[in-house]
C-alpha cells in the first residue's frame, strides 16, 4: 500500500516536471548536442546549398583552431579582458556599494539609481556616446588630458589603447549590477559585529578587512563567477565600438565565433570555437570554487 502510494507519487512528480524537461530537452540539450556534432563536420556555405558537401572531419576543426593565429589573438584579448576587467569591475562595484551604503551618505536612493543607470541603458546607444568621448581630437577625455598637459591618446585607433578603452567602458557599463548585489550583501551584515569590533578598538580598515570581507564571502563567490562568465562572453562592446580592430586588438572569442559562424558561414568551425570557450569557462569556474573552498577551510 505504502509502496504503491510512493510509486504514484513518483509518477506524479515526473508528470509535473515533464513539461519543463521537454522544453529543456528541445531548446537546450538538443541544440547543444547538435552543435557538438556540428563541430566535428566542416558544415559551411557550400553545405547549406548542398548537404552532400558537408564532410565529417573528426577533430580537424579543433586542431585548426589551435593552429590559427586569429584564435590565439582572440584568446589573448579575451584573457586580458577577463583578468584585468573582471577584478577591476568587482572592485569598482564594491567601492560603489560601500559608498552608497555609508550611513552618513545622503540621497542614497538617487545615487543607487545613478550608478545603476548604465546597466539598463542600451549598449549600442551608450557605445556611440563613448566613441565620441574617446575621439582623439574632439573627445572629452582627450580634451581633459590636454588640459592636464598630457598628449592625446587615440583610444580606439591605437592597438595598445583599444583594449583598455573597451575595459574602461565595460566596467562603467556593468559595475552597477554587481553593486546592487554587494549592497544586498552589506545590508545582511549584523550591525552588532561592527559595534563589537569598534569596542575592541578596530579601526575602519580593520573592520573592513575582518568583518566586511569575510561576511561578504558568499557574495564574492557569486559575483566572481557571474562576472567571469560574463567577461568571457565579451562581444557587443568590440562589435559596436571597434569591430575587433585596430589590427584585431579587440577581437574576442565570441566575436571570432560570430564572424566565423554568421559572417563566413563556417558553422562547424564556429561550433568548435564555442565548445573550446565552454571548456575554458568551466575550468575557470571550477578554479574559483576550489579557491573559495580552500579559503573557507
Amino acid at each position: 500500500m505504502i509502496l504503491k502510494n510512493q510509486l504514484t507519487q513518483t509518477r506524479a512528480g515526473w508528470l509535473f516536471v515533464a513539461p519543463a524537461l521537454a522544453l529543456i530537452g528541445v531548446f537546450f540539450v538538443g541544440p547543444v548536442v547538435a552543435s557538438l556534432l556540428l563541430s566535428f563536420t566542416d558544415f559551411d556555405i557550400y553545405a547549406i546549398g548542398d548537404l552532400g558537401t558537408a564532410r565529417a572531419v573528426g577533430l580537424q576543426n579543433y586542431s585548426r583552431i589551435l593552429s590559427d593565429r586569429e584564435f590565439w589573438t582572440a584568446l589573448r584579448n579575451t584573457f586580458t579582458f577577463v583578468v584585468v576587467g573582471g577584478p577591476l569591475s568587482v572592485m569598482v562595484s564594491l567601492g560603489a556599494a560601500l559608498l552608497v551604503n555609508v550611513r552618513l551618505a545622503r540621497f542614497k536612493g538617487a545615487f543607487r539609481v545613478i550608478f545603476f543607470t548604465p546597466v539598463v541603458t542600451t549598449l549600442v546607444a551608450v557605445a556611440i556616446v563613448w566613441r565620441y568621448l574617446y575621439h582623439p581630437r574632439y573627445g572629452l577625455i582627450d580634451q581633459g588630458l590636454a588640459r592636464l598637459g598630457l598628449a592625446p591618446v587615440d583610444w580606439l585607433g591605437d592597438p595598445h589603447w583599444a583594449m583598455p578603452a573597451i575595459i574602461l567602458f565595460s566596467v562603467w557599463k556593468n559595475f552597477g549590477y554587481n553593486m546592487l548585489i554587494f549592497v544586498a550583501g552589506l545590508q545582511n551584515i549584523p550591525e552588532e559585529l561592527y559595534e563589537a569590533s569598534k569596542i575592541d578598538g578596530a579601526g575602519a580598515w580593520a573592520r573592513f578587512r575582518h568583518v566586511t570581507v569575510p561576511a561578504l564571502g558568499p557574495t564574492f563567490l557569486f559575483v566572481g563567477i557571474i562576472t567571469m562568465i560574463g567577461q568571457f562572453q565579451l562581444f557587443a562592446e568590440p562589435y559596436v565600438m571597434t569591430q575587433g580592430g585596430p589590427v584585431r586588438s579587440t577581437v574576442s572569442i565570441i566575436l571570432l565565433m560570430y564572424e566565423q559562424g554568421f559572417r563566413w558561414w563556417r558553422m562547424g568551425y564556429a561550433a568548435a570555437v564555442a565548445f573550446i570557450l565552454l571548456l575554458i569557462v568551466l575550468a575557470g569556474t571550477m578554479l574559483q570554487l576550489r579557491l573559495q573552498r580552500g579559503e573557507q577551510r
Partner: protein
C-alpha cells in the same frame, strides 16, 4: 544579443564598407516618398483592373525583393510595368541593406525565396554556390532587350560565374577620387594626375603645403576596396589557379601594396578607420584631407552637405593608374537583378527584369534615386551627359575590372584589410604580411579546391553552369 546585432549592423556596417554610407544616404527622403506612391499604386491597380478586358485572364503575382532606397523608388517603375503587362502583378518587398544578406540566406534554406531580387554583385558567386540562382544564359540568348553588349563590360563580367551569367546588372557602383580643387591648385595641380608617379608627386606637394596636421588623401584602414583596386591596377589577378589559391605574394600585388603602405608611412594619408572620422563632410570642408576615394552615392551627399561657398571647390576625377590613364582601373560594383531557381513564375519575373533593364527605365531610375545606370545607352540621357562630376564616373566605368567571383571573396577581402592594417601600423613588414595573407587565403579555399577536384566525377559535362 539579437537587438544588439541588428542595431550594430545597421549603424556600423559589419556587412562591408559599402553599406553604412549608403544606408545613411538612404534615410533622407524616406518619409516624403512613402505616402505618395501608395495612393498612386492603388489608383494604378484600379486602372489596370478596369482596363483588363475579360475576367477569366489569369493574373500572375511576381514577388520582388529590393533593398533600401532602391526598394522604395522602384515601386514607381513597377507601376508602369504593371500597366504594360496587365496580366502580371508585382509585389515589391523592401528589405534594409543591413538585413538583406541574412534574410536571403534564411529564405533560401527555408525554400521561401522570392521570384526575382536585387542582389549586390559581391554576393552573386556566393548565392550561385548555394545553387539558389537561375542560370540566365538561355534567357539572355532569347531576349531582345537584355543584350550583354549594352552594358559596361566590366560590370557584366561580375555577374558571370564559370562562363554562365546569373544576374543582369541593374545599377553600377565604382570608386574614384573626390578632391578639393582649391587645395590641389594651391599645390600647383589643376586636376588629379593620371599616373601613379605624378599622383604621388602631387600628394607630396599637397602635404608640404598643408602641414603636419592635414593630409593629402583619406584612405580609411577599414576598407578593403582601395588596396584591392590598386592591386587590380597593377595587373594582379588576386587569386590564381581558377580562384583556388591566393596570388597576393605575386610581383604585381607586391608592387601595389608597397605603393599603398608607403602613402601612410610618408604621412600622406592618416592611419585612421572611417569610424574615427567623426564627420567626413565637415573634415573635407576643413581641408583635413584633399582627396578621398569613394563612390557615386557621395555625389548627392557632397552637394547637400558641403557649405554652398565650397560647392565650386570640389570635383571628381578617375583613378590614376601605374602607367597612366588607361591603367587606372577601378572596381566593378553595383547591384544586379537575379531570378531564383525555386521560382515557379520565371517567365513573368524575367519580363520584369527585361523591363527594368530598358535604357529608358534605367535613365528614369537614375532620376528617381541617383543610382548610375548599368546600360551604356542610358548615359546619353541629357541630365547625365551634362553633369560635370558625373563625367568622371562615366569615364571610370569604362575602366572597371571584376574581382574574383568566388563565394569566399568577402572573407578574403576582410583578411586583406586586416593584413594591410598590420603592415600600415608597422606590425609586420609588407612582404611577410602578404605571405601570411596567401597562407590564410589558401586555407579558406581548401573546400573550394576539394569541390572543384570532385566536380567532374559528380556532375559529368557540367562545364560552366551547374543546372
Amino acid at each position: 544579443m539579437k537587438s544588439v546585432t541588428e542595431g550594430g549592423a545597421a549603424g556600423f556596417g559589419f556587412t562591408g564598407p559599402r553599406v553604412p554610407d549608403r544606408a545613411r544616404a538612404q534615410v533622407h527622403g524616406r518619409f516624403q516618398r512613402r505616402l505618395a506612391p501608395r495612393g498612386c499604386f492603388v489608383l494604378a491597380s484600379l486602372l489596370a483592373v478596369v482596363s483588363c478586358e475579360p475576367a477569366d485572364r489569369e493574373i500572375t503575382t511576381v514577388r520582388f525583393w529590393a533593398m533600401g532606397r532602391e526598394g522604395e523608388v522602384v515601386q514607381e517603375l513597377v507601376r508602369d510595368f504593371e500597366r504594360e503587362n496587365p496580366e502580371i502583378k508585382v509585389e515589391v518587398q523592401q528589405i534594409p541593406w543591413s538585413a538583406a544578406h541574412e534574410k536571403l540566406l534564411t529564405a533560401h534554406v527555408g525554400h521561401a525565396t522570392p521570384d526575382v531580387a536585387q542582389l549586390g554583385n559581391t554576393w552573386i558567386a556566393e548565392f550561385e554556390a548555394l545553387r539558389a540562382l537561375e542560370p540566365l544564359g538561355p534567357w539572355v540568348a532569347r531576349s531582345s532587350t537584355v543584350t550583354p553588349e549594352g552594358f559596361f563590360p566590366g560590370i557584366w563580367a561580375t555577374n558571370v560565374v564559370d562562363g554562365e551569367p546569373y544576374g543582369v546588372p541593374w545599377y553600377v557602383d565604382t570608386r574614384l577620387i573626390f578632391y578639393r580643387k582649391d587645395i590641389l591648385a594651391s599645390a600647383g595641380y589643376q586636376t588629379v594626375p593620371d599616373s601613379w608617379d605624378e599622383w604621388l608627386a602631387a600628394m607630396r606637394a599637397i602635404k608640404r603645403r598643408v602641414g603636419p596636421d592635414r593630409f593629402a588623401i583619406l584612405l580609411p584602414l577599414n576598407e578593403w576596396t582601395q588596396p584591392m583596386i590598386l592591386g587590380l591596377q597593377a595587373g594582379s589577378p588576386l587569386l590564381r589557379n581558377g580562384g583556388t589559391r591566393g596570388a597576393f605574394g605575386g610581383p604585381e600585388f607586391r608592387r601595389a601594396f608597397a605603393f599603398y603602405v608607403d602613402l601612410y608611412r610618408e604621412g600622406l594619408a592618416p592611419p585612421l578607420s572611417n569610424t574615427e572620422v567623426a564627420n567626413l563632410y565637415q573634415e573635407f570642408e576643413r581641408g583635413y584631407f584633399a582627396m578621398y576615394i569613394t563612390g557615386p552615392w557621395n555625389l548627392g551627399e557632397f552637394r547637400r552637405r558641403l557649405r554652398p561657398e565650397l560647392q565650386d571647390a570640389w570635383g571628381t576625377a578617375p583613378l590614376p593608374g601605374p602607367t597612366g590613364a588607361a591603367s587606372g582601373l577601378s572596381m566593378a560594383g553595383g547591384s544586379s537583378l537575379v531570378l531564383f531557381r525555386d521560382s515557379k513564375r520565371k517567365p513573368a519575373a524575367w519580363r520584369l527584369v527585361e523591363f527594368l533593364s530598358r535604357p529608358d527605365q534605367q535613365a528614369r531610375f537614375y532620376h528617381l534615386c541617383g543610382d548610375l545606370p548599368a546600360r551604356q545607352e542610358a548615359w546619353r540621357d541629357t541630365a547625365l551627359a551634362a553633369d560635370e562630376e558625373m563625367r568622371a564616373f562615366q569615364i571610370q566605368l569604362g575602366r572597371v575590372a571584376p574581382w574574383p567571383m568566388v563565394p569566399e571573396w568577402e572573407e578574403i577581402a576582410i583578411r586583406l584589410q586586416d593584413e594591410t592594417e598590420r603592415a600600415v601600423r608597422g606590425r609586420t613588414p609588407p612582404d611577410s604580411a602578404l605571405g601570411e595573407l596567401d597562407r590564410s587565403v589558401d586555407r579558406m579555399l581548401e573546400k573550394r579546391r576539394w569541390l572543384l577536384s570532385r566536380r567532374p566525377r559528380v556532375r559529368p559535362g557540367a562545364v560552366g553552369g551547374r543546372g
